[in-house]
């Protein structure tokens, strides 16, 4: 490489994506990483490849796809159930591709309906706290993505489920959602609020200790009494379902730890995205979840190594000084900037490999334009699998 910085001595192992997609033992592929790195596109491209090339009955669960990508998968509206994707060529392989887009509120409603009777459910749906929680609860999207994954997995209709994770504040949220929900459900606050419901429906704060009296006065003062009534109603109505909630979250968590799952980190060669990927790789290790590799999207690569940056820029300058040959001047500058960018990207990617030398990497060359049709996804899938 024409650079004064030394590249890393040895690169990371190659991520053989086809081996993972073809492996009948792999039933779930989870794509995770920072926002804006092509996570959804990667998930869709891998699912398509699994169906077309490896004959697997595949479903891809997307969270918040860009409009045109959603259209290309036939997801023009939130359906919350998998639908067959058209334009997929599985004649030779015998596979199948279905896709669905997560409808957070509907998934939550379904969970409520399965865990309680219709009267209770109607009560819950009408409660303003439920409405707020089911649409904006910090972590609801993550939790519902886990719930949906659990449901799809339990149905056992697919050979492979490919999941795109929510565009979270941090990649952590996805893993933490079940624990956070458990903590919330086991919380002292909730038990305090539930106490009156369990002892026969006296006023919310009838069981007072000295400090709790002070506490309840503070709450009443800040939140107002009406809000407290709604809250206790919500908590009481929800009480019967909590066990089921927690159990399911824990089940899904265990599935994610099993060898049938493969986590793929998705990143772009930018410092923030790679830092997030490193962080996530560390977390997966702590949680004993199987990390299969890193997909590094939008990597640049010059078509030819020679001329070097120095030679190109010198020649461009010489031509510019004598006048004419604008096209060549431009082409040489494009070439020099491409090499520069490549070197920079390699340095950024090296920070991940230094920290996790054993994690395989697949580099995917940047596409000049965004992908939003099946052909484009097919090309991306081929690019990810190419060494």
């Amino acid at each position: 490489m024409p650079t004064d910085q030394t590249p890393p001595d040895h690169g990371p192992p190659w991520l053989d994506i086809d081996r993972i997609l073809a492996d009948p033992g792999v039933r779930i592929v989870v794509c995770c990483g920072a926002g804006g790195v092509g996570k959804t596109t990667t998930a869709a491209a891998l699912a398509l490849r699994a169906a077309e090339q490896h004959g697997r009955r595949t479903v891809v669960l997307t969270i918040d796809p860009a409009r045109r990508l959603a259209q290309s998968l036939g997801l023009t509206e939130l359906g919350n159930v998998p639908r067959l994707v058209k334009g997929v060529d599985t004649d030779a392989s015998g596979g199948e591709l279905q896709a669905m887009m997560l409808d957070m509120k509907r998934t939550f409603d379904d969970v409520v309906l399965t865990h309680t009777d219709p009267v209770r459910a109607a009560e819950i749906f009408a409660n303003p706290f439920y409405q707020a929680m089911s649409s904006t609860f910090a972590g609801t999207q993550e939790y519902m993505a886990m719930e949906k994954l659990g449901q799809l997995h339990a149905r056992g209709e697919w050979d492979l489920i490919v999941v795109d994770t929510p565009p979270s504040r941090s990649a952590l949220d996805f893993l933490d959602a079940p624990a956070r929900l458990s903590r919330f459900l086991d919380g002292r606050m909730l038990r305090l609020l539930l106490a009156p419901a369990r002892t026969g429906g006296r006023s919310v704060f009838s069981l007072v200790t000295a400090s709790f009296g002070m506490f309840s006065r503070a709450v009443q003062k800040v939140l107002g009494a009406q809000l407290l009534t709604d809250l206790s109603g919500f908590v009481a109505a929800f009480d019967s379902m909590f066990g089921g909630f927690r159990q399911r979250a824990e089940q899904t968590y265990r599935v994610l730890q099993a060898p049938e799952t493969a986590f793929l980190l998705v990143a772009a060669p930018e410092p923030d995205a790679v830092r997030e990927a490193s962080y996530f790789a560390g977390r997966l290790g702590e949680e004993q979840m199987p990390l299969a590799g890193l997909v590094l999207n939008r990597v640049h690569c010059p078509a030819v190594d020679e001329p070097t940056i120095g030679e190109s820029l010198a020649a461009a300058e010489q031509l510019a000084a004598t006048g004419g040959h604008e096209q060549t001047v431009g082409a040489l500058r494009v070439h020099a900037s491409l090499i520069q960018q490549t070197v920079r990207e390699q340095q950024v990617a090296a920070t991940f490999t230094e920290a996790f030398p054993q994690v395989p990497v697949a580099a995917v060359t940047a596409q000049p334009v965004d992908v939003h049709d099946i052909d484009g996804l097919r090309a991306i899938g081929a690019a990810i699998s190419q060494r």
Binding site: F129, F212, F215, L319, V334
Partner: protein, 330 residues
């Protein structure tokens, strides 16, 4: 309060708002743009506050600073006596501070925390969390000492475009839950402030299809909510290196004239690179046109080839500062 002497009550040219909310799709450089704007607005001996609300400690990372506490502290000095302070707003701390300020709830406040009440309340009613976060930002923006504003401007590194409407539309969220009481009063105050000329939301983007689409969607959403949109800030804009089309014949002649190798592999390689660049350039031009059509003034920041270090940040500051010499709607 010598740092902002004389300038505190005048709007900064080109950036008329007091509170600059910076949002954008993930990966578009929201935090760097927010930091550069805080630095640019601190020129000429002013004092600005750079705040974040998502617990990411992005500001500390950018300035290579230890994690920020819930306290406003200097993070960068600016030539000419200006100063940028930084603050990581935390919902729980903001609630306790708010309680202490308005209710003198010292001991009860601590009790609330011990019971996990704050975690509970902000978990079950996320709108409440946003009211606390935006309320703190409003408080800092409007804070005065001796009839003088403490900050000439506040820049908020806000949640990304996908969540910005919900984050700033605090009343709708809390009104569903709190129909009376101080939370309602508080959220109404914040909502009015966010809809006033005191506030401007700037959207960072890159010249990529998805980022531009999200930018246009966010602008439409904010406009619908009556929240003022300031500028669209295109980050990482690259200069066009080529005009028109490139042919193999001309490339060969040019390389020969420069005394470079003209073998087939070299010519074909350079040609395909040039064509890729041209395709990218054409896409960027059409995205620029989409942005221009939308209305808010567009400002372009250069691509930082060496990453966002202080030197890179200063380059952004220079561009943003230059924008302040002409009116936003020029």
């Amino acid at each position: 309060m010598g740092a902002n002497k004389g300038s505190a009550d005048q709007a900064i040219a080109g950036w008329p708002a007091r509170l600059h909310v910076v949002t954008g799709k993930g990966g578009t450089g929201k935090t760097s743009v927010a930091a550069a704007l805080a630095l640019a607005l601190a020129a000429g001996g002013r004092r600005t506050l750079l705040a974040e609300v998502e617990g990411r400690q992005g500001i500390a990372q950018l300035f290579d600073h230890p994690p920020l506490p819930y306290a406003e502290q200097p993070i960068a000095a600016v030539a000419g006596g200006g100063e940028v302070r930084a603050l990581a707003v935390d919902a729980e701390e903001a609630l306790l501070e708010y309680l202490a300020m308005f209710y003198k709830l010292g001991a009860a406040g601590r009790t609330l925390r011990r019971f996990g009440a704050i975690d509970f309340a902000t978990t079950i009613a996320p709108g409440l969390r946003d009211v606390l976060l935006t309320g703190k930002v409003k408080e800092a923006t409007t804070r005065t000492v001796g009839h003088r504003r403490v900050y000439d401007a506040v820049v908020l590194d806000a949640p990304p475009t996908g969540r910005i409407g919900r984050f700033l539309n605090v009343t709708a969220e809390t009104a569903r839950l709190a129909k009376i009481g101080p939370i309602k009063t508080q959220s109404e105050g914040v909502a009015a402030f966010l809809r006033s000329p005191m506030t401007a939301v700037h959207v960072t983007t890159r010249l990529e299809e998805m980022a531009v689409q999200e930018t246009l969607d966010a602008i439409a959403e904010l406009t619908e909510l009556g929240i003022p949109v300031g500028r669209v800030i295109v980050n990482g804009a690259q200069e066009p290196l080529l005009a028109g089309k490139v042919t193999q014949a001309e490339l060969r002649r040019g390389l020969a004239a420069a005394g470079m190798p003209t073998d087939r592999a070299t010519v074909a390689g350079l040609l395909s690179e040039a064509r890729g660049h041209l395709a990218r350039q054409r896409l960027e031009e059409s995205l620029r046109a989409d942005l221009d059509e939308q209305g808010p003034p567009v400002l372009e920041l250069p691509l930082l080839a060496e990453g966002v270090d202080r030197a890179g940040l200063d380059l952004l500051v220079e561009t943003l500062g230059a924008a302040s010499t002409r009116p936003a709607d020029a």
